[in-house]
């Protein structure tokens, strides 16, 4: 049912992207994560760096939900059918608070986005949050037995080199 991701790294280290999608039912939200993004670049100079992962690597804690996410949202039947990628264009920082700019591509739809991030002083870790609207990427708001995900999905990421 939902998505998203992005940013992480890197040659070695820890990185995790998670998302939370609230629904029309107050007590029900859908959460998921991916720990298998491929990063090309460096946190020292993120300009031009790219991140990419297959939607088959998103996990929500329920197999059926993962399947619905892949098939109903991303229309992906097999691994390799749909990817999510981010290409960093610029990083503007004031102390450890930064703004990351780049192009987020979900399947075939690309949009420029800006998101607040925090970079560690040694430039070894980066963390941030963003809200992604499904409709802006021509993705359907998935529903299951009367419970429907809201358009805005909160995405959180952290990565350490």
């Amino acid at each position: 049912m939902f998505l998203l991701f992005f940013i992480s790294s890197v040659f070695a280290g820890f990185s995790e992207v998670s998302f939370v999608a609230n629904t029309n039912m107050p007590g029900v939200s859908v959460e998921g994560k991916s720990q298998k993004m491929v990063f090309a670049g460096s946190l020292e100079n993120v300009k031009g760096a790219t991140l990419k992962f297959d939607v088959f690597e998103l996990e929500t804690g329920m197999e059926a939900r993962d399947k619905h996410l892949r098939e109903k949202v991303f229309k992906a039947k097999n691994k390799g059918d749909a990817f999510i990628s981010f290409e960093a264009k610029d990083l503007v920082c004031a102390s450890n608070k930064c703004e990351l700019m780049g192009v987020l591509t979900i399947k075939d739809k690309a949009r420029e986005i800006k998101l607040p991030v925090e970079m560690s002083s040694n430039k070894k870790s980066l963390a941030g949050k963003a809200t992604i609207a499904l409709s802006q990427y021509d993705l359907p708001r998935p529903s299951f037995m009367g419970v429907q995900v809201e358009d805005n999905v909160e995405v959180t990421f952290k990565t350490m080199e």
């Binding site: 039912m25 107050p26 804690g61 329920m62 037995m145």
Partner: protein, 355 residues
């Protein structure tokens, strides 16, 4: 007959509360259950989740049409193995139904068959139809965030544990045999849920147990995957006055969850003004190696002071497997410690449900 039994097993589905589902992002019961207290009838979404979370799972069919009348049957067979004896008996047989009068108004009820008392001779035992009683009968006004209900129901306190013999239920008169007349209000938002209720004695209750009172349970979710609960109740019966306060916790992430409840009760026996206090507590650690398999260990205790001085604790290890959407089997090995005496009980349970 075997074909009929097989059909019944395949058509039946377990519908009980799963407070451990906070690990998957479910902070309250109303996503999956019609009742704000959990358990009982499932919503279409709850039916869908149950269908996909079984060893033999399937893809639920999305029914666009809205049903005015929904119903279910719940049954449970229990095999109790103690040192002295082993018994197998039907623990639960319930018929559940809900009728939607209008968009915001519904009436719902549970017709139950009380289990046969253990020590009654077969010739003296009442037949099933004479053991029927209304476990719940509620008229509810419902909107997206609030509900107001009036009727007969158990009090909305506690964690929502299945085990009615747990100290936090049995010793707090929590959803065991107490079915008062009540009016309750439920509120729910993303980070907050509350039940507030006023209750009066059910006329069918024994005279000495007829309790009137007021209470509230509040859940707060400060961060994802953790919910903190507080509850309070003040009750007054012809023989006893009691006040209860409790703290509850639900936490979980991924394949793990943790539940805890601690309650403190002050009681006064009116006849001789004797006062005594009681602690009950419960904690459970769960692990889900697969979606259909639940392994757990629990540790619970009871402590009463003065005239009723007693101290008991119980440690359990168990497993629960949802074989099909219709059938769940559970096993639990419990060791109860009373003073220096330990006794062991093994429970084998088969849960059936049909809608």
């Amino acid at each position: 007959m075997w074909v009929g039994l097989l059909f019944l097993i395949l058509m039946i589905e377990r519908t009980e509360a799963h407070p451990t589902y906070i690990r998957l992002g479910y902070a309250s019961c109303t996503g999956c259950h019609m009742s704000s207290q959990g358990g009982g009838l499932l919503t279409p979404y709850g039916q869908g989740i149950a269908t996909t979370q079984s060893l033999i799972s399937s893809e639920p069919s999305e029914d666009e049409g809205e049903k005015k009348y929904i119903q279910a049957f719940q049954g449970r067979v229990l095999r109790l193995q103690e040192v002295e004896e082993t018994r197998t008996f039907p623990m639960q047989m319930d018929y559940l139904a809900q009728y939607k009068i209008s968009e915001n108004l519904r009436v719902e009820g549970i017709l139950a068959v009380a289990p046969k008392p253990k020590d009654v001779a077969p010739e003296d035992a009442k037949p099933a139809h004479k053991r029927l009683y209304a476990r719940s009968l509620l008229l509810s006004w419902v909107n997206k965030q609030q509900r107001m209900s009036l009727g007969i129901s158990s009090l909305p306190i506690g964690l929502g544990l299945i085990d009615h013999t747990s100290y936090v239920r049995a010793n707090n008169r929590n959803q065991v045999t107490d079915l008062p007349l009540l009016i309750k209000h439920y509120f729910e938002s993303l980070k907050f849920q509350s039940h507030t209720f006023l209750y009066a004695a059910n006329p069918n209750e024994e005279k000495g147990n007829q309790e009137n009172g007021v209470g509230s349970q509040i859940w707060f979710k400060p961060i994802r995957h953790i919910a903190l609960g507080f509850q309070g109740l003040s009750g007054n019966s012809p023989s006893i006055k009691r006040d209860l306060v409790g703290f509850l916790l639900k936490a979980g992430y991924g394949k793990f969850s943790y539940l805890a409840e601690v309650d403190r009760t002050w009681r006064e026996i009116k006849e001789d003004k004797t006062e005594f206090r009681q602690w009950t507590w419960y904690q459970q650690l769960s692990f889900y190696p697969a979606e259909f398999l639940h392994l757990f260990t629990s540790w619970q205790g009871l402590e009463k002071d003065r005239a009723f001085l007693s101290r008991e604790s119980r440690i359990a290890l168990g497993a629960e497997i949802r074989l099909t959407k219709n059938l769940t089997f559970s096993f639990e090995d419990r060791v109860r410690k009373t003073g220096s005496i330990n006794d062991e009980i093994k429970l084998f349970q088969l849960y059936l449900n049909w809608w």
